[in-house]
């Protein structure tokens, strides 16, 4: 089962820090992340891609669902 985190409403840099911590913990697999700002979407995507994860972004009602996998 995929793991998921909701980082909506958190101030920078908590969204990216929270997701980074989780990715370091799970090492591989799939993590779904719900974010509500373009800043968090970009920061998390950049961090994950730099760490060799694949990121797929889907926009829904002004929020973003990031599917991060390795």
């Amino acid at each position: 089962m995929n793991q998921s985190i909701d980082v909506r409403g958190l101030s920078c840099p908590l969204p990216v820090v929270t997701v980074r911590k989780k990715l370091l913990e799970i090492k591989n697999g799939v993590l779904e992340v719900l974010v509500d700002t373009g800043t968090s979407r970009d920061n998390i995507t950049r961090m994950a891609v730099n760490a060799s994860w694949k990121v797929v972004v889907r926009e829904e009602d002004g929020e973003y669902l990031l599917t991060i996998s390795k």
Binding site: G9, L10, S11, C12, P13, D36, T37, G38, R46, M47
Partner: protein
């Protein structure tokens, strides 16, 4: 495609270069020396123009501040990122904005001006920069310890429009300059407040900076924070570009004067240049971004960032009314004590809102 370009490293470098060149030219066109752009100083000048402090040499409604917010608003509307939100410990953010301003006015500049002072050859700014990095580093310690101001929530669109409307109001005051029996509106006739670039040029440049910075998430504090915290150099490259572009522009415009003494709007008390920026760096980090970033966020509907800006305005008024702000002669009478008190308050906030407090409570049990 366009969205991808805006979040690319090329674009944040372009934004840094644009800000660096703009700052040097705004100085050439009339802004105070090494203060082509200084978010803290310009908020302070604006507070003075409204009569919130009576330091007669630093009173002027700076169009750059207005342009930053409205430029960010334009970008956010065009790219559908205008998202009214509020409710993440607003009073704490007010206090952090207040204290950040106290620290910045003891040093005499925000993180933006720290870079611009360096680019103008002011060696005293090295101590401010060191303080800034130490302040950010302390903030990172608390972030790693679970520091969190809580989640914001989506709110009514009108909430997100309040700060842009305030800025439009300030612009009208700047243009029409109403004269009231109280003496308001207060515009300096001498000193840094009397030095300014033409309004039309300043606002156009600031609108462009606000637009680009909203797209790239430009932030001078996050630039350092992200390198240390998550090994991300994206924003750092933008900030280095700003510094180098401002330096090159100053050399071309003959505005580079290396040294420590007789630097414009600066003092040589290195302990409090350092201390002031430790406080500012810590307060900005605890609030999530530098003063410029807080303006850009308030333009895209973040009411908590707007409350931080209001805290900065109040802090500026207080710092000048209560002999805290420095002058070229050195720190104000109560400047050093205020920095220490400010640091204590920041530590209490950071400790109380992190997992450190929970851990201590559990240890007691």
């Amino acid at each position: 495609m366009l969205k991808e370009f805006f979040s690319s490293r090329k674009y944040v470098i372009f934004t840094g270069i644009f800000i660096g060149i703009s700052a040097a030219f705004l100085q050439k066109l009339g802004n105070p020396a090494n203060m082509g752009i200084c978010v803290a100083c310009m908020v302070r000048d604006t507070a003075g123009a409204l009569g919130l402090h009576r330091a007669e040499v630093v009173q002027y409604i700076r169009p750059e501040i207005i342009g930053f917010v409205l430029g960010s608003l334009m970008a956010a509307l065009i790219f559908k990122e205008f998202k009214p939100r509020a409710g993440s410990a607003p009073l704490v953010r007010f206090v952090l904005g207040f204290l950040a301003m106290v620290g910045a006015l003891v040093f005499l500049g925000c993180p933006w001006r720290t870079l611009l002072r360096l680019a103008g050859g002011d060696g005293n700014a090295l101590f401010g920069l060191a303080g800034l990095v130490v302040g950010i580093w302390i903030g990172i310690f608390f972030i790693k310890s679970g520091y969190n101001l809580g989640r914001n929530q989506r709110t009514n669109p009108i909430v997100g429009w309040i700060m842009p409307v305030i800025m439009i109001g300030l612009f009208l005051l700047l243009i029409f300059r109403p004269q009231l029996p109280s003496g308001a509106i207060f515009f300096s006739s001498k000193g840094p407040g009397a030095q300014h670039a033409p309004i039309f040029i300043a606002i156009i440049i600031a609108l462009a900076i606000g637009f680009f910075a909203q797209r790239t998430r430009f932030c001078t504090v996050a630039a350092v924070r992200d390198v240390i915290l998550i090994k991300d150099t994206y924003l750092f490259t933008g900030v280095v570009s700003l510094l180098l572009a401002a330096l090159a522009s100053n050399l071309i415009l003959k505005q580079f004067h290396p040294g420590f003494y007789d630097q414009p709007v600066a003092h040589t008390n290195q302990l409090w240049n350092f201390g002031g920026m430790v406080l500012a760096g810590l307060a900005f980090t605890l609030a999530g971004g530098c003063p410029g970033r807080q303006l850009f966020l308030s333009g895209e509907g973040d009411a908590d960032a707007a409350v931080f800006v209001l805290g900065m305005i109040a802090g500026a008024g207080f710092a000048h009314n209560f002999a805290i702000a420095s002058s070229p002669k050195g720190p104000g009478l109560w400047g050093p004590a205020s920095v220490i008190v400010g640091l204590v308050i920041c530590f209490i906030i950071a400790f109380s809102m992190s997992d450190l407090r929970k851990k201590k409570m559990e240890d007691k049990k």
